[in-house]
């Protein structure tokens, strides 16, 4: 328990330091130090890395998926980055639209959209868990059919998590827009997205390594792991829904 709290402390403290750094760099940018934009992008990238280390961002969901379903590292990597991209771009698009059409109530509307998207995401996650269960119970002889479904599944998983717009991206993008640095805001979001993508991918890759065909000898444990991961996925969906 204490180890988890130490880790959380580290993640929160690091983000707070980076949060202050971004404000300071923008101050320097406003004073005419244009070179600082490189630092802002670098800090945004690190912020993304650390930001996704904390709770949320669907690491548990994506890891559960890959614990339930055997996959290649390449697929895990793709899933991590796709999740991060959707997570970032949904925030980017929503922030942009709110900035254009709902000035003076951006945070309020963003919060409402975020809360509703969590519910949509939760329903998706529960459906994925149920589908995985159906797949596991069903006859697995239809290999070809499953292969086709796999890429669709992967997209469904990444979409279900990524659909929740990242409030961290919203804050940085909106902050940049307010100060008149729209393109820098978009680039910061991209840098943050790459950082988050690395962290989320790592969680997915670790899961694929645990659920690996080389452990075929421990088939009973692997089957237990599959069911455990599906239960975890289902539970996470329920937690987000209620």
């Amino acid at each position: 328990m204490s180890l988890y709290q130490d880790f959380l402390n580290f993640v929160v403290q690091s983000q707070q330091v980076l949060n202050i750094k971004i404000s300071d760099y923008f101050d320097r940018l406003e004073m005419g130090e244009s070179i600082v934009f490189v630092y802002i992008l670098a800090v945004s990238f690190i912020y993304g890395l650390v930001h996704a280390l904390g709770p949320g961002h669907g690491k548990m969901v994506i890891a559960s998926y890959f614990l339930a379903k055997e996959a290649k590292i390449k697929e895990a990597f793709k899933a991590g980055f796709l999740t991060s991209l959707i997570h970032t771009f949904s925030a980017l698009i929503i922030t942009g639209l709110l900035y254009l059409f709902f000035q003076n109530s951006v945070t309020k509307h963003f919060q409402e959209i975020n809360t509703n998207m969590y519910k949509v995401s939760a329903i998706f996650i529960i459906l994925i868990a149920l589908y995985l269960l159906y797949e596991v119970i069903n006859d697995k002889k239809e290999e070809e059919k499953l292969q086709k479904l796999q890429s669709k599944n992967l997209f469904a998983v990444t979409l279900s998590i990524g659909i929740v717009p990242c409030p961290g991206v919203m804050t940085i993008v909106l902050f940049s827009m307010i100060l008149g640095y729209i393109s820098l805001g978009v680039l910061s979001a991209v840098a943050m997205s790459i950082g988050m993508g690395i962290t989320i991918s790592l969680a997915a890759i670790v899961a694929t390594q645990v659920k690996n065909s080389k452990y075929e000898a421990y088939k009973t444990y692997m089957n237990l792991l599959t069911y455990g991961a599906i239960i975890l996925l289902f539970t996470l969906g329920i937690f987000l829904l209620v």
Partner: protein, 161 residues
Amino acid sequence: MKKIVLILLICIQIAYSHPHFFIDSKITIENEKIKNEWLFDRLNSRVLLFDFDKDKNKYLDNNEQQNFIDTHFSGLVDNNYNIFLSLEDELKVKPKNIKVKVDKKKRISLTFDIDIKLNNVFTMCTIDEKLYMAYKLVEINSKNKIEVQKSEYDYCIGVTE
């Protein structure tokens, strides 16, 4: 039981977000009230100011303050305003004298009082179980003997006499 609650809390934190608001918290304990100040980080303050300072005079008038409170504070009632307060039993927090100001460094500060007769041992914790807001205790003033436990995202204050 304590372990189950902790596991549930961790599950909620895992499922939900990570901090987005970094709040420096100041507490003053007086005889009949607890004064709270939540100082928002500069990044979020700037964004919030853009949203709520409608006349762009870098000052929040009564209407603007109320709008801010309705949007970002009143909704916390379901979670007892992220405060756990216990004398003998857990108490419902009823914040009074709520004000929102902008300081010289353009940081938004939200202050409120909790009226309470504090002639006894009590515990007060500030935590957002969803970890959307990280509360860092930066200052505490009290004439009572106190014990403090704090992290980067929550804190508990125990008054022992």
